[in-house]
Symmetry: C3
Subunit: 345 residues, 3 copies
Amino acid sequence: MPTLGELATHLELELHGDPDTPLDGLAAIDVAKPEHLSFVSEKKHLHRLEKTEAGAVILHPDWLEAWSGSALLSPTPYVSYAHATRVFDNHPAPSGDIHTAATVAESVLLGDAVTIDAGACVEADAVLGDRVWIGAGVYIGHGATIGNDTVIKPGAVICHAVKIGQRCTIHPNATIGADGFGYAPSDAGWVKIEQLATVVIGDDVEIGANSTVDRGALEDTVVDDGAIIDNLVQIAHGVRVGRQTAIASQAGISGSTQIGDRCVIAGQAGMAGHLVIADDVHIGGQGRVASSVTEAGHYSSGTPVQPLRAWLRSASRFTQLDQMAKRIAELEKATGLDQQEDGKA
Amino acid sequence: MPTLGELATHLELELHGDPDTPLDGLAAIDVAKPEHLSFVSEKKHLHRLEKTEAGAVILHPDWLEAWSGSALLSPTPYVSYAHATRVFDNHPAPSGDIHTAATVAESVLLGDAVTIDAGACVEADAVLGDRVWIGAGVYIGHGATIGNDTVIKPGAVICHAVKIGQRCTIHPNATIGADGFGYAPSDAGWVKIEQLATVVIGDDVEIGANSTVDRGALEDTVVDDGAIIDNLVQIAHGVRVGRQTAIASQAGISGSTQIGDRCVIAGQAGMAGHLVIADDVHIGGQGRVASSVTEAGHYSSGTPVQPLRAWLRSASRFTQLDQMAKRIAELEKATGLDQQEDGKA
Amino acid sequence: MPTLGELATHLELELHGDPDTPLDGLAAIDVAKPEHLSFVSEKKHLHRLEKTEAGAVILHPDWLEAWSGSALLSPTPYVSYAHATRVFDNHPAPSGDIHTAATVAESVLLGDAVTIDAGACVEADAVLGDRVWIGAGVYIGHGATIGNDTVIKPGAVICHAVKIGQRCTIHPNATIGADGFGYAPSDAGWVKIEQLATVVIGDDVEIGANSTVDRGALEDTVVDDGAIIDNLVQIAHGVRVGRQTAIASQAGISGSTQIGDRCVIAGQAGMAGHLVIADDVHIGGQGRVASSVTEAGHYSSGTPVQPLRAWLRSASRFTQLDQMAKRIAELEKATGLDQQEDGKA
């Protein structure tokens, strides 16, 4: 159980209060108890300090007036909170062993302190860096490369020749490097296009549970350094996901689309293939991106939920929109408004 | 092969006809043969009885006029049909054994008659209740708790410290308790927020194949008793799914959203984070829920499919809607209708 | 490394140029080097030949004027490219062995040259055809049937009694034959309807990574010959997917819907249950199909992405559409346009 003083030292934050205060966990401000460290990430939440029982709070130095208890002062309280979660992290640690119930081909190159758990299968010519952790039941295909300190969680499948960088986490049941969805239509049906390229994942990337990143046909699928990808996301063949781009759950990126750096793609958004998305583009939930986006900014599509009957009327009218627009134009003509309002539509 | 009389006794239904009629299966009314039990769940389907060859039919006592054959009478025929499916169930039964090709840590607490199939891995300090069935290749993390009579199907991953209640079914390749998607943005990129809480699943819950339920950051993700969740569903960190709420395939619930009891969320619906959804709310397919829903009822969003050319016109006009509304207002002003119709818009 | 002449013979294409040209791979026209075979699939891409360094190009005989280098002439260059990918295929080959770390029940029927990799589990009474390849960690349920030359990739789960035809590929972590999502509502909550039927998959079918195809309640779920299904797709119980129908990533088909032959369902499209979709129907990305489609053709739904502020106005107006339409009608009445334009709306 760390003390407030130890936390201040570890997190490199200025301390306000008794350094010997013991803290045994993190909690949200509304539920925190005296044994908890908490945090306020935005000024608008300062009023919540009034009722908190937290033993100490991470907050911005400018906000000290609002709080008389113990504090850790940070110019970026939310980032400091993120760092603090590592102090209290309760995830199991790797054993550092190759489990006897794992299957590891002889030609596999193993770094130092590699962990391979029960039921995992590492195929010939794979290369596992230092401190790599291969979870239970994981599959690492022929010639795949996993960088130092990367963790592949249970049930994930990493296909042949896939390259994953350092300090990545691939979450359970994700599939990296399955065949892209490529077929040539012919009179006899779909003719499969073998996917000859692979997937290249940079450093510090996370890929969520049950997500899929397909291998390229002729050019690699690329996920750049620092990108974070949530659960059940589809990254099709030949896609590039830029540096530090975030893609939320159930979003899907179609083949060959190139997404810039620092983009944020919200849940269930979908992108057509062969698009180019600029840096710093934010797409709202369920966004329907059918053409390239050349300018940074926030974009959205879709319609809001309505009570069913009201929606049925809206949806029905949607199919009449073109006619409605033409009727407005007729009315403007009939009333002479089109002369005044010329060019408005 | 049960007889009609045995079925009546088992299902606790009044019998009409020959109790010795042998029945070897269930079939839909249109395809049922004399060896089949069938059912009519709604009055509007009664006409289908005219052509059926079913050996016996479950139906409402009020509908007996429409049927001269053997019958089981139920005030809720569809529920009785559901019960009857258990009689004819053909799923394989658990062996009751710990397979020699399973890996079970010494400290695991095993109830009575636990089955653990080949390739499964159960980590230290996990607790498996009576008659729990851990399927082939399943991963049960450190300290996870699985209640009596719960079945974890092949390939599912249950992460550390996850708690699952009694009589649950977790379908193949589902992932319960992977890290929630939490990161603090910083100048140096995304800083991971370790997810310190877990997932708590009540009793009588089903979670579909390849679905993901993420562990909480500071507060647990909760799926309450009797909730049913279909395939490929995303339940983000800190979400609460209420009692007996049903979530259909590919729906996604963002972080910290609280869904009430007895809600029905249709396929591909999406909910933003930090919302509160009342009890008994129904959201239609692909529903886009961006704000809280405070009243029970049916809600929907989206637009209907149209032939491509017609849709292109509608979609294009959608982007001009605000202008169209203003043009209508101008017209009302020009024609004096705005005086009469004041307040209408 | 094949020569151009060998490729011509293998692909049965007319050769133009030096048959001894060695070619060691395929590359897209813009990046191809002298050691690469490339292709032009559409006339509009012919201008790209000007700058290519490709050693040889597959193209239509009519386009030879645009290219003075070596060529393979094909009436369907894209199909020939697909065939050529097989020549250069770099996927690992099956070992032809049953791995000692696989678990195979005694009663399993094994064809010739079957491969079963480490950690796979094949249950009693399963039938594996000739040259079937069961990947690492795969689960094959009781009595499942896998046709000749079919490949089940690592981590996939094939539940009991599922039937898969010949030359199919089931990609990693897919789940075939989990229970359909069937429950009867009762006062005491949802009563599970045991799913008594199975999944029947024809020949030459591909099912993508992490996709789910549920078993039927009373009637089988069917995926017909030559259908191709991408990643993270949901096929619910009782659905029929017609011959050579293509379903892109994250699309979802609800229970009992019958999709015709040669349909193309784009990414994230969703279909309600109990629909009938004609042959040769194309549904655009995120298409919201709530009723049957009786005529072949292209259909779409949804709205285009807009910059956030503009979209907020459009979305808000969408909820007022019915009122807007009524206001237009009032205006038409007030101006007498309704007499001239009668019947237009």
